[in-house]
């Protein structure tokens, strides 16, 4: 029973809950049991709600029994990336500087999932302040890829992706600044969506780069992502960059998925030798499958995408260095007083030295440099111009096609430690995902199969014009159905059985 419950999709589980075939308490208990069994090996969670989640589930069951009108995901458990503040639940953003902090309010996406009756299971691991592509920069130790525990689960949202891939949660929330939802989806065989900038409120999302950050769904199926998107999306007066116009139902777009006549542009510059052979072959097979089902495949050029990473690694550190100034040892989090005391500035400096990890310090110093008088125009100013050029590339491409397609990331999951000492090599993971953040357009990563050379998951990314998020759910939903028909079972059915790690996890305790 319990094993069956954790393998249901969120929409299937929601339907069973609505039909009274299973209670939310049973579903929540099954997922907590799974976390207890495998998270010692996976380490997707930084905090687990435990009995408090059961109490929340019991309340939803009570409301259902009383005849309350509940949404399609009511009673379904969800994992929450630790970048989102949660009232009464610890929120660290993967940093020592926020260790033990209990926020006094909920982020808007968290409030919305609670109001829709979803059951928060806990908080997921991430690179510190979302700076990274492997979750190795978490101050609390890395997360391990459920497909191969020696490999990275992607980042920064490796915890959220691993939690759904390991069947610890049917749904998770993530945040994507340069690929932190989509790249983990690619390496874990899951679905991840970065909505249009402004589609989901950023209120209560601990800011990395305010002009790039966007919260979105992390799931095992495209329909589940759409259902969660419909819950968390929409205008929020608490976020001044939130888009005020109403949105169509993303779930409807999946249910009506049809690619006949859809024009799909392949970005020439992101279909190159720089990508692993198996990543490219699965990408082209997916496109051929869509073409056989009525889509039109067109090659397009985006010449300025080449400069996107460089622009990103100026804009992001600049914005991050400003955003992280709030960690000042006064209002929340850590305070370290130097030996013999000191002024408030000395306390602040000692606190930030002790509380921030190496990657965070690297990017704060880089951002401070990029914003310095005398360098501002050459670095930050030029990066903002590249942003314009990347947007123009998108605009030009979208006059010819409805959506763009790229491999989500250059390689399958690499081994832990492999790129940790080479920041520039780590930054290249985001080559295909960064342009969307610079231009504010939405993107989805959908599983495309396993790379033949290493048997690890590969994702395909689709990008749509700003505000046309529904197109991603259309093409993603259609591809998922076509691939499912070919494979006969979901990709994650081919992932190794983690239950064999139960014994070691229990014996060794939490890793």
């Amino acid at each position: 029973m319990s094993e069956h419950l954790i393998r249901l999709t969120a929409s299937e589980l929601g339907a069973k809950l609505a039909a009274g075939e299973v209670s939310s308490v049973e579903a929540t208990r099954a997922h907590l049991d799974r976390i207890a069994a495998v998270d010692g090996a996976v380490h997707a969670f930084l905090h687990v709600e435990g009995e408090r989640a059961i109490a929340t589930a019991a309340e939803v069951d009570r409301r259902r029994a009383a005849g309350d009108e509940l949404g399609p995901l009511a009673g379904v458990p969800i994992a929450i990336k630790d970048v989102l503040v949660t009232k009464g639940m610890p929120s660290t953003a993967g940093s020592r500087i926020l260790e033990g902090w209990i926020p006094p309010y909920d982020a808007t996406p968290v409030r919305k999932v609670r109001e829709a009756g979803l059951i928060p299971l806990g908080k997921t691991n991430m690179d510190e302040f979302a700076m990274g592509s492997s979750t190795e920069h978490s101050a609390y130790g890395p997360t391990y890829n459920p497909w191969d525990l020696e490999r990275i689960p992607g980042g920064s949202g490796g915890g959220s992706a691993a939690s759904v891939a390991a069947f610890e949660a049917p749904l998770a929330l993530g945040s994507d600044t340069g690929g932190s939802i989509r790249q983990p989806a690619h390496v874990t065989g899951t679905v991840g969506v970065k909505p249009t900038y402004g589609a989901v409120s950023r209120y209560g999302s601990i800011a990395l780069a305010s002009s790039l950050d966007q919260v979105g769904p992390v799931t095992r199926t495209v329909l589940d992502a759409a259902l969660l998107h419909d819950v968390i999306g929409g205008h929020d007066p608490l976020d001044s960059t939130s888009i005020p116009e109403p949105w169509p139902s993303m779930a409807e777009a999946v249910r009506r998925a049809d690619v006949s006549g859809l024009r799909i542009g392949v970005v020439k510059e992101l279909d190159s030798d720089g990508f692993q052979a198996g990543v490219r072959s699965r990408f082209h097979e997916a496109l051929a499958l869509l073409e056989r089902n009525g889509a039109e495949i067109v090659e397009v050029s985006a010449p300025n995408f080449e400069y996107a990473i460089a622009a990103y690694y100026l804009i992001l550190p600049a914005e991050a260095s400003s955003n992280l100034a709030k960690f000042d040892s006064v209002r929340f989090g850590l305070r370290v007083t130097p030996d013999g005391g000191g002024t408030v500035e000395q306390v602040m400096s000692a606190t930030r030295e002790a509380g921030f990890g190496a990657e965070v310090k690297r990017r704060i110093i880089l951002g401070t440099y990029a914003l310095s008088a005398g360098y501002y125009d050459a670095y930050y100013g030029s990066a903002q111009k590249v942003r314009t050029l990347v947007q123009r590339d998108f605009d030009a491409a979208f006059t010819k096609v409805d959506v763009l397609a790229t491999p989500t990331a250059p390689t399958t999951a690499f081994k832990l430690g492999e790129k940790l000492d080479d920041p520039l090599a780590m930054y290249l993971n985001d080559v295909a995902t960064i342009p969307a953040n610079l231009a504010g357009v939405p993107g989805i990563s959908v599983p495309a199969g396993l790379a033949p050379e290493d048997g690890l998951p590969v994702g395909i990314q689709f990008l749509a014009p700003a505000r046309a998020d529904a197109r991603l759910y259309n093409v993603g939903g259609a591809l998922e159905q076509l691939l499912l028909a070919e494979w006969g079972a979901p990709l994650l059915d081919r992932a190794p059985d983690l239950s064999r790690h139960e014994l070691t996890a229990t014996e060794e305790g939490a890793l």
Binding site: S211, S240, L334, Q346, V347, R352, S382, Q384, K385, L424
Partner: protein, 99 residues
């Protein structure tokens, strides 16, 4: 332009209020030089005729009525502070002896 000295990194660390160790400064000096060298390529295409973009979606001012909204209580706001006196945040001296 990408030549960065240890003195510069120490100055940046001071501006950013991070008490970096000598070892960290040495390591970061090398890394920053490499990273800046890589990101400088933005100047190859950022010509004077290209306008900068600060936000991906065109924005306009957002207004609301000047009424008190939902706010945190003092107790809630102080709950996570390293030190407070019950109604205010407590910090150490603002000025050092030399000031």
């Amino acid at each position: 332009m990408s030549e960065i000295s240890a003195e510069q990194v120490a100055h940046l660390a001071n501006l950013a209020r991070i008490a970096l160790t000598e070892e960290e400064i040495e390591h970061l000096t090398k890394e920053l030089g490499q990273i800046m060298h890589a990101v400088e390529q933005v100047n190859q295409v950022a010509t004077p005729d290209v306008p900068p973009t600060s936000h991906p979606i065109p924005m306009q001012n957002v207004f609301r009525d000047d009424v008190v909204g939902q706010t945190l209580t003092a107790e809630e706001a102080l709950a996570g502070a390293p030190e407070s006196d019950g109604s205010r945040f407590v910090v150490s001296a603002i000025l050092g002896e030399e000031q």
